[in-house]
């Protein structure tokens, strides 16, 4: 099987790097930017693009650890519910427990990490498949958010808290800095560290990774915990941006996050994927939303398109991969 691709690759006229998922996606992204810019003068303005960056941060922060998880062949469907739970606990601990706000933020981040840790510990120790574990906690965490809040919202946070979600820092939305830093760190970790390479090893062949002495369970535990922590961070950014907490926050985030990751070329079967791809995928999803909104399509129709994009990009990616593998 491994010898087959060689003669095929030699026959190809197009250089290999052009056929890379990320490159193709970046080209499509560029074309889409130009077309949308031509169609609507409000689109290709710095203000609009920066604002889109602001809006994509909440999903983006979660998409980074999700890339790690999907590379290992896992999945985390509970992220949207963790966002809801953390948002509720942020508001609740501040208003009801009377925590000072910085402590409340710390508390909600801790809860996010703990929620992710619970996913990770059951997935690695009991060997419950990630899909089922995170469907269960999708229900559980959302249920806790609803039960604790009793569907009541919390508002009226101190003024300084809105800085993260609504203000600019050096001319760029404040939360976008958070996302940029997270992107750089994730990219370095995935590409340049043993930890990052272990993720690919697990995704390609978990048994082999185990027999090679790689700490498979510990690595998995870390990435699911990280996923929860980033969902908690995303919740804080979201609350700061929309100035209120409600128990239905983050519903459907798993769709945007997974669509961005898969669209960015990370294989749903594991073993393949890059942070760079996820970033382009995120930009594509946000572009799609913004472009559709500017042409007058309502939000509900947008998720139709994102759902179709998710299925379609997986189809394309898997057929490309099959061709590469010479099947």
């Amino acid at each position: 099987m491994s010898e087959i691709p060689l003669p095929q690759a030699a026959k190809r006229v197009v250089p290999w790097w052009l056929l890379r998922h990320e490159t193709m996606l970046a080209v499509i992204l560029l074309i889409a930017l130009i077309v949308l810019g031509g169609l609507n003068s409000r689109f290709l303005t710095l203000d609009n693009l920066l604002n889109q960056g602001r809006l994509t941060t909440e999903v983006g922060l979660i998409a980074l650890p999700m890339t790690f998880i999907i590379i290992t062949g896992g999945i985390d469907l509970s992220v949207g519910s963790i966002v809801g739970l953390c948002a509720i606990l942020l508001g609740y601990s501040w208003k009801v427990f009377g925590f000072p706000l910085p402590l409340a933020i710390g508390f909600s981040l801790l809860v996010g990490a703990a929620a992710g840790f619970l996913n990770g510990i059951v997935i690695t120790r009991v060997k419950v498949p990630p899909l089922i574990m995170t469907i269960a906690t999708l229900a559980l965490y959302r249920g806790l958010a609803e039960g604790i809040s009793q569907a009541r919202s919390v508002r009226g946070y101190p003024e300084w808290f809105y800085f993260i979600g609504q203000e600019n820092l050096f001319g760029v939305p404040a939360q976008l800095w958070l996302l940029l830093i997270a992107i750089v760190i994730s990219a370095i970790v995935l590409d340049r560290t043993t930890f990052g390479r272990t993720l690919y090893a697990i995704g390609n062949n978990e048994t082999a990774a185990r027999f090679s002495g790689l700490p498979v369970d510990r690595v998995k535990l870390i990435i699911y915990t990280l996923s929860g922590l980033m969902a908690g961070l995303s919740a804080c950014v979201l609350v700061s941006r929309v100035t209120t907490t409600r128990s239905d926050m983050g519903i459907g985030y798993e769709l945007d996050v997974i669509a961005a990751v898969v669209l960015g070329g990370t294989s749903i079967f594991g073993g393949v994927g890059t942070i760079w791809g996820t970033v382009v995928g995120l930009a594509m999803i946000q572009l799609l939303k913004n472009g559709l909104a500017l042409t007058g399509v309502k939000g509900d129709a947008t998720i139709v398109v994102i759902g179709a994009v998710l299925i379609f990009s997986t189809l394309v990616a898997s057929s490309l991969q099959r061709r590469r593998d010479g099947v």
């Binding site: 574990m133 229900a139 965490y141 998720i303 299925i311």
Partner: protein
């Protein structure tokens, strides 16, 4: 790991049967035990009116869970079914209001259900895309599509004859409960005794072995999804006809309740094991818990957390039990 577990289970067929039987017995005991316990706390819970309301209002979940159980036994999952039920209810109601013959309105839900699910089955089985990706995508297509087409407008003034759920057989047995029981028994018999029913277990239990036995895995999966679509259609009809209005939106998190019923009913998420009798009992139990929360003055906002805990506990117990059986 998986093969070892399965080998262990195959070596002890009688033991496996006993374990399965106990899952259903356990559920039956839980259903009755909970009724007694809550009845002691608040006797109004045991009023015939309340018990029949609980059954009537949730029969559609049991019907949908029958299809979901088949999907999970075949080693797949479907999270689009809640949205599909909302769409099918709206289609059926819209037809009925606009003067289509009632039977056509009913049939449309069943046919559309089969078509949508069979399409998903084809993508999953022949194009080999994981069920979670396909059904997550379909969930958002159906959900967004429904709201953008209808604007969430309520469908009212449904013709009287449309209300399937109002029919009482022999003057006592409400149709939804009748359908729930009949569907469960027929599906259980079919899965247990027919070759195509057994094929679902074979495909979910050990795809390679099933292939060697001459069972077409893709064809079985498409069949399972098509059937699942049929049951979703039937569930949608019960759902649409039990109230005077149809909300033409997607019932929130309905898929989670249906999956919970299947999993708590003993359908193993690793595929290959489970019965629909268990899933129907579990659907009744979940409905009973939701009602019990109200009668014990616990806020109903906790129901989803309870569902999450139920799935978690059942799944962990299932896996530990399999591990012990494999070790034995």
């Amino acid at each position: 790991m998986t093969t070892a577990t399965l080998a262990g289970a195959e070596a002890n067929p009688r033991r496996r049967l006993k374990v399965l039987a106990s899952q259903e017995a356990l559920l039956a005991i839980a259903v009755i035990g909970l009724a007694i316990a809550v009845g002691l706390y608040n006797p109004r819970f045991l009023a015939a009116r309340n018990l029949s309301d609980v059954l009537l209002g949730n029969a559609y979940i049991a019907v949908a869970a029958v299809g979901m159980s088949m999907v999970i036994v075949s080693g797949n999952i479907d999270i689009s079914v809640g949205a599909l039920i909302g769409v099918l209810a709206t289609i059926s109601g819209t037809l009925a209001v606009n003067g289509a013959p009632i039977v056509v309105a009913w049939l449309a839900a069943l046919v559309a259900g089969v078509l949508v699910m069979a399409l998903q089955g084809v993508i999953i089985a022949y194009l080999r895309i994981p069920a979670i990706v396909v059904t997550l995508g379909m969930l958002s297509i159906l959900k967004g599509g429904l709201i953008s087409v209808t604007g969430g407008k309520w469908i009212t003034d449904l013709p009287h004859s449309f209300h399937l759920a109002d029919i009482e057989l022999f003057g006592v047995l409400p149709f939804p409960v009748f359908l729930m029981i009949v569907v469960t028994i027929l599906a259980a018999l079919w899965m247990r005794y027919s070759a195509s029913g057994r094929a679902i277990y074979a495909v979910g239990g050990n795809a390679e072995a099933a292939r060697l036995c001459g069972i077409s895995q893709p064809r079985t999966i498409v069949m399972v999804f098509a059937l699942h679509g049929f049951f979703a259609g039937a569930a949608a009809l019960l759902y649409a006809t039990q109230l005077r209005v149809i909300q033409s939106t997607v019932p929130p998190n309905l898929e989670l309740t249906i999956i919970t019923a299947s999993v708590v009913g003993g359908v193993s998420i690793l595929g290959g094991v489970g019965t629909v009798i268990g899933s129907t009992l579990a659907a009744v139990l979940i409905a009973e818990i939701a009602s019990a929360l109200v009668f014990t003055d616990v806020s109903p906002y906790w129901i989803r957390a309870v569902q999450g805990v139920l799935i978690l506990v059942t799944v962990i117990a299932d896996i530990l039990r399999r591990r012990r059986m494999a070790g034995a």
